[in-house]
């Protein structure tokens, strides 16, 4: 791949992004929370539930890039305040999407990580702005984008002086209609070979089906991802946005109960492999 001066694997050791007490790129990081911040009580209740279930970070949207201009657009600045407070009270770092270059500095005042959504992956003026924001950036894959296009977008952020970029595979558009999008899990090991940046998986938006979130989360871990980002709502049927795909806190806790032992098991295998390798040597 041409012109990948900063993102390509030949550049540096694997990047580890420190966010509060969490290190993205070491171990397996679970980000959970509602699609949209709707109210103080909804955010707090969900935040406490996902923390209890073992989440490492909190997500919540204050600015929503909706397909229809008549859909709920998010609470804006009020939402950011609610999210920051939920983060303070639970001790979890918070991540939220920014959709307008004019908002970047303000969102950075409230959030620990800035998210660039799939629809804005190639919004170059926005990428340049988050490159200057002094906060880690989670860059979602554009739903029509190739890996090379995706890496070029990460390159934009890095070239502005921000080394802390996390990639997020969130599914691509194919002819399949049963799932919302098609989760391209092969992107995880492929990106491992191409770049030093951490990569996580969004099993919620890629499948659009709550019953597929658990198996795809475990598959993400098996494929070598650095984490998952899952939509969880205290009462999914009442959600103002994407009500049909969020998990209940109990369902999320069920996934985490499988993730942690599997993580240990995989860590055991790689340790065993290293031991054998060194004993041969």
């Amino acid at each position: 791949m041409k012109n990948l001066k900063l993102t390509s694997i030949s550049q540096v050791q694997k990047t580890a992004v420190k966010i509060g007490g969490v290190t993205m790129g070491q171990g397996f990081c679970a980000i959970a929370g509602p699609c949209s911040i709707e109210s103080q009580s909804q955010m707090m209740e969900t935040a406490e539930a996902v923390k209890k279930a073992g989440a490492d970070m909190l997500r919540g949207g204050a600015f929503k890039p909706r397909s229809s201009p008549y859909s709920f657009q998010g609470l804006g600045l009020e939402g950011l305040k609610i999210l920051a407070r939920a983060g303070r009270e639970t001790g979890l770092p918070v991540i939220t999407e920014v959709i307008d270059p004019r908002d970047v500095s303000w969102v950075a005042e409230f959030a620990d990580v800035l998210q660039i959504g799939t629809r804005n992956m190639q919004n170059f003026s926005l990428l340049k702005e988050v490159g200057k924001a002094g906060r880690p950036v989670l860059l979602k894959r554009g739903m029509y984008s190739t890996l090379e296009e995706w890496l070029n977008c990460a390159e934009y952020i890095l070239s502005e002086g921000n080394p802390d970029v996390i990639l997020c595979e969130r599914g691509i558009r194919t002819f399949e209609r049963y799932t919302r999008n098609t989760l391209d899990l092969s992107a995880v090991p492929a990106m491992r070979a191409l770049t030093h940046l951490p990569i996580i998986v969004d099993p919620t938006h890629s499948t659009g089906r709550p019953e597929l979130v658990a198996p795809m989360s475990l598959a993400a871990l098996a494929a070598g991802a650095d984490g998952i980002m899952v939509e969880v709502h205290r009462r999914p049927q009442e959600a103002l946005c994407d009500a049909d795909q969020a998990l209940t806190p109990e369902q999320f806790a069920g996934i985490m109960a499988k993730i942690r032992p599997m993580q240990e098991f995989l860590a055991g295998i790689s340790k065993e492999k290293n031991r054998k390798a060194s004993s041969i040597g």
Binding site: G76, L77, E78, K81, R102, D103, S105, W106, A108, E109, F110, G134
Partner: protein, 354 residues
């Protein structure tokens, strides 16, 4: 003018009316100290006659009379409530008022232009209590106040450590993207320099933090915000864009509550001011008294004497009441070692906060 523009102007006037009413009630409470009784029929009649004197066609006489009567009745009701008058320096919403509200809940908080007005007002009986800042965790001693403390007859009857929580205030948070300039006291602007730079906001110096908030509420200049306390948001109907915008670790200001009489219970902290002769070891001898008696000191600060520039006086705070056996003994020993010794008073230490 569009409907929206007209409504913005109406909101501004309503806000201003209420801020002015708050000021009027404060002034009415202050008249109590000069009157035999709350009711003064001659003055009341004179106030109500304004309805006849001012010919405002849209504010009709009957309405004016009714409105003024309602205001007068309310101010008489307030005067009968026995609220202590608590003076502080600055505009309504200043950090001094934040401290005053914590130290004396349910008081009437009266703004003063200068620290000296707080001291003189309490000394002369115009106010019941006064609240003044003595030191800030970042900026150090408030010299004007410490200077006034060396001279005053007033007693310290309480203290409060108030965390300085700078907030960015605006008349409508939905317009945060349009903010371009931010008004505040130069010290507050300096403490928030990083925040202002990150968000491309131009600092505009103003005489006072709360004064900037008040100006914002009354004049609403274009694309402007103010840095002031969260209390200012409540008092002036402003919205908080973000709390805690100071760059460094948050700083705390220690305020003292002043009264004409001593605190009547047992205090757990005592403040004194003293001066020693210009001789080797004098200050050390004083401090040794406290060390030998195992009394913990919480503050010691020196200040040049304005009356006598080559000499210094010392502010000393220690744990316990001045009438505690050990402390009383130390203080009587101190009389012999100092040229002046003034007990400012014993009082309850800041209750668990800060």
């Amino acid at each position: 003018m569009k409907l929206e523009e007209i409504r913005i102007k109406i909101d501004k006037i309503d806000r201003e009316l209420l801020v002015l009413l708050q000021e009027r009630m404060g002034l009415a409470l202050r008249t109590k100290k000069f009157k035999e009784s709350v009711s003064d029929p001659a003055r009341e009649a004179d106030l109500l006659a304004r309805a006849e004197r001012m010919a405002l066609d849209l504010v009709e006489r009957s309405f004016t009379r009714h409105l003024l009567k309602t205001i007068i009745d309310e101010s008489k009701r307030l005067q009968q409530e026995e609220r202590p008058l608590v003076a502080f320096q600055g505009e309504h919403g200043a950090y001094g008022e934040v401290a005053a509200r914590r130290l004396v809940p349910g008081g009437a908080y009266i703004p003063c232009l200068e620290f000296v007005d707080v001291f003189r007002g309490v000394e002369e009986g115009e106010f019941d209590l006064g609240v003044v800042p003595v030191e800030n965790s970042l900026e150090g001693a408030v010299t004007q106040v410490n200077d006034l403390l060396t001279d005053t007859k007033l007693k310290v009857v309480g203290e409060a450590k108030v965390p300085v929580n700078h907030c960015l205030l605006a008349t409508d948070v939905r317009d945060y993207r349009d903010l371009r300039q931010v008004f505040s006291h130069p010290q507050a602007l300096a403490q928030c320099r990083g925040f202002l730079a990150r968000n491309r906001l131009e600092p505009r110096p103003y005489y006072d933090t709360a004064g900037a908030a008040k100006m914002l509420a009354r004049e609403n200049p274009r694309a402007a915000g103010a840095i002031a306390s969260a209390l200012c948001a409540e008092l002036y109907d402003l919205e908080i864009v973000k709390e805690g915008i100071e760059d460094g670790p948050s700083n705390t200001t220690r305020f003292l509550l002043l009264a004409r009489d001593m605190y009547d219970g047992r205090g757990d902290k005592t403040s004194v001011v003293f001066a020693t002769r210009h001789e080797a070891g004098r200050l050390f001898e004083v401090l040794r008294l406290f060390a030998d008696a195992k009394i913990n000191l919480t503050r010691i600060a020196s200040m040049p004497l304005r009356r006598d520039p080559d000499n210094y006086c010392f502010f000393l705070d220690f744990e316990g009441d001045e009438n505690d056996e050990k402390a009383a003994e130390v203080l009587s020993q101190m009389e012999k070692l100092t040229i002046t010794l003034k007990k400012l008073g014993s009082y309850p230490a800041n209750g668990g906060i800060g």
